[in-house]
Subunit: 242 residues, 2 copies
């Protein structure tokens, strides 16, 4: 059973201000929940229409009806389980290895997909500008497919980080160097820009290596790649030489 007040609290977590006030977020579906449990995210409570998880203490598990789950869920078609987790303390940024920096990524699906892609390519740190969509937005959590448990995402102003780093800073620009022909290092910060406007002017000044993904289709078309696809192609180029 679940009370009306609990349902109200949980559905309020669809909004950032209530996630921040309560320091809680939701994750849905057995796979994502299990990955977060395995990664030692601190569980608040699981609500499910059937017993799905082993090793969860009974006081942190409630069987609920499909109707109640639907009221709590952020999905159009709810899964059979929803879990509430505590938001972990913001991790400290370590200036080593390959790092992805996101300059105002607004679309939750894009952020989630980028986290998943970083996980695939063994990127352990993402720095998100404060105006990047919230990592704990339910759509982001779902789109990460569990990778949220394995990649540290740190929200921080990018400018001071980029200004003081000794690492090379890469950014994608139309007039950048052909990434297929470059020698790429295994340390550095790769900045990915906003979906509509690209990398902001202030951040551009910190980029010391402008790169470009060549286009092979018709030249007259100015259409760009989706930012998540571009991130995958760039990380592939950095990693393929290992």
């Amino acid at each position: 059973m679940v009370s009306k007040n609990q349902i109200k609290l949980i559905s309020s977590l669809h909004q950032k201000k209530f996630r921040q006030a309560n320091q809680l977020f939701i994750a849905e579906g057995k796979k994502v929940i299990q990955e977060l449990l395995d990664a030692s995210f601190e569980l608040n409570h699981i609500y499910a229409t059937m017993a799905l998880f082993e090793g969860v203490s009974p006081e942190k598990f409630s069987l609920v009806s499909d109707d109640d789950l639907k009221k709590m869920s952020a999905l159009t078609v709810p899964n059979n389980a929803l879990a509430v987790f505590k938001i972990p303390v913001n991790n400290v940024f370590e200036a080593q290895g390959l790092i992805v920096a996101l300059d105002c990524i607004r679309d939750p699906g894009n952020l989630g997909t980028i986290v998943r892609i970083c996980d695939w390519f063994g990127i352990r740190q993402i720095i998100c500008s404060p105006d990047t969509v919230d990592l704990y937005n339910p759509k982001v959590v779902q789109a990460t497919m569990g990778s949220i448990a394995r990649v540290n995402c740190i929200y921080s102003d990018l400018l001071p980080v980029l200004e003081k780093t000794n690492l090379p800073v890469f950014g994608t620009f139309m007039d950048g160097e052909n990434i297929y022909k470059m020698e790429l290092p295994q340390e550095g910060i790769i900045v990915m820009g906003n979906e509509a406007n690209g990398i902001s002017e202030a951040i551009e000044k910190c980029v010391n290596s402008k790169i470009a993904i060549p286009r092979f289709g018709a030249i007259q078309q100015t259409e760009s790649l989706n930012v998540a696809t571009a991130t995958a192609l760039i990380l592939s180029e950095f990693r393929r030489k290992i």
Copy 2:
């Protein structure tokens, strides 16, 4: 002005059976509509809240209210223009160059993104299995961002095409060859499989080159890449050597 019957017809085009019965589809937003006009798609009618397009004959243009546009639109937040186009006649498949074959891609966003990625990499033909989501689904049309005008998508059973082709047939499998270390040709058919089940058994038998995108993250995780991301990474490897 637009009649109730017109609104009813247009909103019926959100569904495949009505698109097929009427041989019409909808596209929304100035950019996508303009790209289809430029590519000589046959216009049926444009409905817009303001005059946005030059060179469209007056009998094919109606000014409509925001309310009426909302009733016709397939978008949660409607754009300021919706156009109805005739579905072009299925193009003939030509066995040359690099071709992407889709084995039961179900998600409209994935299909649209794959069309956009193919456009970027200069792929001119996609063969879609009959159980792949409909190209003229409004969500697919939007996700292509206009690339639908530049890539031929042909719906056809894949098996007869793959069985009789002289082109090499590539498919992604966990135990495939490391794509970063292969010499890849500029002709061939690259099969991408269903989101949940991958390439079907019957199609697997036609694959004569099994390929794999290496993972650089933690080995114990079995998570795969999204099919659109995987398509981008594979096409990048085929094209980067030009």
